[in-house]
Each structure stands twice: as C-alpha cells, then as structure tokens.
Symmetry: C2
Subunit: 413 residues, 2 copies
C-alpha cells in the first residue's frame, strides 16, 4: 500500500545550486560558517520554503530547525529526515546540504502527491555540524541527544570571542523549544560518502549499518640529536627511524583487519628537523577506526605492541596516550531494512557500508532509531570547494530517502 | 734530533677560558659571530699575544690572520697550524677555538724553548668558518684555496644586509695581502671531534686520514590527500607510508656500509599534516656520507633503487634531486705519519678516523699538504653552549699538534 512517489530530480538539483549561492565561492564551493549571515540566509530560505509547503517550522534553544508536516496519527512522534546546512570554510555544495535539500525535495513530493503519512514527517537542519567556527563538531545534534548541555553549547566561542549563544540571538535563531524535548520516531540521514568506495565499485547507494568506532592517540618518540656526519650508525638514537617503523606497523594493522579497518598516521613533527642533524624527537598522531569495538581493541593492542617491539632495540624512549575515543555506532536494523527494500524497488546498485566519518546521526542514534544513506562523490573528495556529485546520484539518494521513510511509516499503520 | 718540548697545559686551559669571555654567554657557551665586535676582541687579543711572542701578524683581503715565526731557512714556505675563532650563535668554547689556541700554545712553547725550526711556523685564524652570519661556511679558507673569489666573499650579506666586505672594514680587518698569495708548506688543524666515537672507545687522539664525501638530496613523495575514516586501506595513496619505508631503507644503507658510512633523513615535512587526513605529500632530505667516492656512488645507487622499489607499488609518484656534492678529501700521508709518530711518542691512545663534518682543512687540502687531529668532546655534543672537553685531552691535542709540526719540520732539514 506504499505509493510510488517519484521525486523531481531537476527541482532537487535546482535547489542545490540555488542555495549554494548563500556563501558561494569563486571556485564553486561554499563558505557558510555556522550562525553567520550566510547561514541565516539559507535558514531563512529553508523556513520560507517549508512554510510555503504548509509545514510548521520550530527552532530549538540551540538553533536546530524542524519543519513538520502532520500525519494521520497525531500521537506518533515524527519520522525525521535531515542533516546540516553549515559548511567548512572552503567547503563544497553537498556535504550535509544534500541531506537537508534531499529531505525538502522528499517533502515537496509528498505534499504534491497529497499523500498522508501515518506519523508526522519532519525535515531537520541540525546546527553547527562542522564545528569550524564553534568547536566541537555536531554540537547542536549533540545537545538534542543530551551528549552536551545547552549551556555548554551557548558558551562555545569563535576565534573572535563571540559565543554560540550570542551568535544564535544575533541572527534570530535562538528558539524557545528545549533541545531534545522532542522525541523522534526515527531518523534518516542522506549524505555524500566523503570517501571513494562507491565510486570505485561503481555503485549508486551506500546502505549504512553504522559508524566506525574511532580512537585517536598521540605518541612522542625520544632519542638524541646528533651530527649526521660525525655520528656512526651504531651510536645513533634516531627517533625518526623508530617513527618510520611505527608508521609502517600502523599501516600494516589497518591492512591486517581490512576491509573494515583503517589505521593512519596523519601528522608528524620532527625535532630539530634539520638536514644535518639526526632527529632526536618525533611527535606523531595515530587514528584507528573499525565498526567493531572488539576489533578496535585488538588494533589498539597491536599498535601498543608495535611500540614495545620497535623502540627499545633502537634505544628510543616514548610517551603515548589515547586522546579521543568515539565508540562504534550500530544503526537500527528496522530502518536499514527499509532502506534496503527501497533501493531494491528502484533497482539501484548498492553495498552495505559503515561510515568512517562522524555525522549528526552518530548522536541522534542515541535517542532514536537511526540510519543513513550514502551517495558517491567524485574521487571521494570532500571538505573542499571542488567536491562534486552527479545529479542522477543525488536524485537516487533523495528517492531512496523518501521511499525508506514511506516504508517505515507503513509499519506504523 | 727533535727536541722534547712540553706544552703548558694550564696556560693552554687559561687561554681557552680567558678568550671564551669574548662573547661568553650565561650558559657557559660563546656567541662570537664572524666580524662582530666580539670577533674583533678575540682577533685583537690574538694579534697582541702573537706580536708579544715576536711573531709577524698579517691579514689578508678576506680577513684571514697569519702570525709567523721565522725559521732557519727563509726560502721555505711556512708550516701552518690553525682553525677558526668565530662561533655559532649558541656555540661552545672549543669548536675551532681549540685549533687556534692550541697552536698559540705550541708557538709559546717553541718560543720559550728558543727552538729554531727549519721552516717558518704560522698560526692561522681562518675567517668565517661557521657561516652563521655570512653563508656559506668556510668562506675565507675557501677564498685562500681559490674555491671562491674575494669578490664573492665581500658580497655576502648578513640578514641585516651588511656585506662581508663592509663588516671586514668596519672592524679593521680587511688586510692588503691577496688571499692565497701565500703558499703553505703544510697545514695541521687540531679540532674537537664533534662526534661520539673517541669518547665511546675511550681514546684520546683521532688521527685523521680525510674528510667524508657528502651528498645531499631532496625528495618529494606525491600521493593523494584522503579522509582517514572514509578511505579504505586499499584505495590509499599514502605519501607518508612511502616515506617511512624510504627512511628505513636509507638507514639500512648506512648500516650496510658501516662503520664508515652514514645515511640520514633529517628533515621531513608532511602535507597537509592533519590528524584525520591521509598524507598526500611528503618532502624530505637525505644526507649520505662516506670517505670513498666509490662507496658513495654505490650508496646513491642503493638510495635511488629504494625509491623505485618502494614508491610505485604504493601508487606514489616522486621528485628527487641531488642538491649538494662535496667530494671526499684524503689527507697527506706524510703529515698523517707525523701525527702517528707524535701520538705514539707520547703514549696516547689513538684511532684513525675520517671527519664527518666540514672544516677549513677541507679547502686548504686543495692547496697544501694537510691533516687534522681530533680530541674527544663530551657526548659528541657541539654547536651547543654545553659543548665540553677535558683539560687533559685538550693538552694532549696541543702536544700532538706541536710534536707533529716538529716531526714534519725535521724532514725539511
């Protein structure tokens, strides 16, 4: 009994291109930092567009925007679709934005068809997902999910010392609704992959099953500075050689637990970093990710074993500490099933996958059944003005979003 | 018929401590940059001290100072002993200075004994060895050896735009003698090791046989930036992993040709150097040294083979270039023999060695028979305010310097 409602792919693409003008950059990207004038422009557009569809728009105390269309059963909490409209300083036109605009398109399709759902349907714009102006990232979805207090969010400061609370009031988006006083029946987030897997395999839709657990570490390897010419190999305590072996060992840990594991050294600082001095100290960071906490434990143990194997024979000392631990998230099986059925119904190619990056869905999964849908982006490029997606793949994503919501809604009859 | 002349170790140490006040730092080091007021102070001291001994002091056009005591045969060019009195910005009390002050002590011993040599004897202070204020290093010994023209030297500028020529005139040390118009019978340079070998082996004197050939390279490894969470291991082009393997391969090249070879990566710059970005580009430097050019050729070939072995399988591209090539120097066997005999006569422990660092002797070896004598320095530490040597080892070095000069002089009878 689920109707075959087709989204309008040209309307979707037009909305993506039109809203990209709010903060549009000469290189074709978007600079729309949280709670700036450009963010207010896109929020005003969103509110006007949704009110024109007959939706009720509310704003919560940390600036999250909800546009609701009533359902047949007013006692059911809403099924929400959304993501974020803020961007990185040199961001693209699609990261986060596709999830909100795709939801707007789904809502337009519903309204045009006059189809009445069982539950209310909401489109959500979560505030400050990027965290570029106000750290940390996913701030307002975090307050919604009671990971942070509203007071914490309001007190965040940008580099000019402006608080999040003051910036919210300045653009008129500090709402009266208490954040989180707003149960969700379910939450679906459409997003660009921000990685190369779908493109590499030539698939259209990523059916997400969760978000990787992530652990960050900092390591300082300590040896001794020495003259490169006057210090024989056997008398060296070369912190960079020890670091090189650990970089390889960490890369090998990623490969050993492939395809789901990733392990990376991204940042290296060598001291004194001079052509003719054997490096006496190296600082580096480690990023380990896996969808299963148990495997992540093993990767961590492997990493720590590598340190103990590699450094003492080189007469090197070290300090090591885990500085961040974000547990793995499992998405709701009943929502994943709805996405699966929707993809199959439309005949799109798909693969199950786990998000390697954080999203608002990570926090919302703590308070509501949640899942995500990915579409490919060219070369896996994101957080970049050249971020690019194909119009037909954007449309496929929005279609699956709408279909999955309707699939899920049908179970509430 | 060579007299047994004993240097005065207390007088030597007093001169080292007294002259260390010209530019002395609170931490016990010396800041005496080339042609500054502090350099003028120590030059004035040197001139006065040598003239008091009856020596004739001349200055050449690039500021090299020569203090000559006549010999029996006025037709013989002088046997020179020396090094440099300038220091690094945070230098020690001994680097270079020991070679000049040790020579002054040798001269004082000769004069006190009234011993007449066959050849004239000279003590030399080569200007601007360090190159800290005016690059390049070993500038004025380089002009003496016709590696550089005097015009090149005069035109060197410090960071304030003051030329070497103007600075020479400002302190009154631009002499009239043309640089290099001054043949040397032989040149002996006493120096601290600036490395850990003598201390590690518990030996007092290093009998130098030459200076390592040195080759410097720059390498840029090119991969692709990617999100650490969203990019599976198999789709990465991780420039840092390629670099890590090359750092290890280069270290292995040093070990393979040990004990004489050294191979070092000293400087590494990672881009974008962010915790959650797979590094897309890494720049690093390579320093290869060996006393034999033939071995250095092999090390270079091994290094280039490692690049070709390591990078393509990782889907990485690269640029590589040699940016400096300083050929190996062989010291004069007849001078080395004089040092050997002198060390044995005094019963000091010794080892043959090759200098890993550059010295004025590298250039002087092009125009005169040359050798060097090393004494240990604590922990191999140099170019540092905490540079330390033992008074008895300084004395042993000065004693061998004097004895070797007398040994050599005896061959000129």
């Amino acid at each position: 009994m689920i109707p075959n409602l087709k989204i309008d792919s040209e309307r979707l693409w037009s909305m993506l291109m039109d809203t990209a003008k709010f903060g549009g950059t000469p290189k074709g990207g978007v600079k729309r930092l949280t709670l700036t004038g450009e963010d207010k422009q896109v929020r005003d557009w969103f509110r006007a567009e949704m009110e024109a569809l007959g939706c009720t728009v509310t704003v919560d105390e940390v600036g999250n925007l909800f546009a609701r269309r009533p359902g047949r059963n007013p006692n059911l909490p809403p099924i929400a679709m959304g993501s974020h409209l803020d961007t990185q300083p040199t961001g693209g036109k699609f990261d986060g934005i596709l999830g909100v605009i795709g939801a707007v398109e789904a809502m337009k399709t519903l309204v045009a068809a006059g189809y009445e759902t069982n539950a209310p349907i909401e489109v959500v714009d979560w505030a400050n997902e990027e965290g570029s102006r106000f750290a940390p990232a996913m701030l307002a979805s975090g307050v919604f999910a009671r990971v942070f207090t509203p007071e914490y969010a309001w007190s965040r400061e940008d580099r000019q010392g402006v608080t999040y609370g003051d910036a919210l009031e300045a653009i008129g988006y500090k709402g009266s609704e208490k954040a989180g006083d707003h149960p969700l029946q379910a939450y679906f987030e459409l997003h660009i992959e921000q990685g190369p897997i779908l493109e590499d395999e030539g698939r259209t839709i990523g059916v997400l099953t969760g978000v990787q657990g992530m652990r960050w570490y900092e390591v300082t390897v300590k040896g001794q500075d020495a003259h490169t010419g006057a210090t024989p190999m056997r008398l060296r305590k070369n912190a960079l050689v020890g670091t090189a072996r650990l970089i390889e060992a960490i890369d090998a840990i990623g490969h050993r637990h492939a395809p789901d594991a990733v392990a990376t050294v991204g940042l290296v600082e060598v001291k004194p970093n001079s052509r003719n001095v054997v490096p006496g100290e190296v600082f580096f960071t480690v990023d380990l990710r896996h969808p299963e906490e148990k495997v992540l434990e093993q990767m961590e143990a492997d990493f720590r074993a590598a340190i103990v194997d590699v450094l003492p024979p080189l007469k090197l000392d070290w300090e090591e500490a885990m500085i961040w631990n974000s547990p793995a998230v499992k998405f709701a099986p009943e929502l994943i099933a709805c996405v699966d059925r929707s993809v199959d119904k439309r005949g799109y190619s798909k693969r199950r996958m786990v998000s390697g990056a954080g999203h608002d869905a990570v926090y919302i999964a703590r308070v509501a059944p949640t899942t995500m849908i990915f579409v490919p982006c060219e070369g896996g490029l994101s957080h970049n003005e050249y971020e690019t997606i194909k119009a037909e793949e954007a449309a496929a994503g929005a279609q699956v979003l709408l279909d999955a919501v309707l699939e899920y809604d049908a179970t509430l009859a």
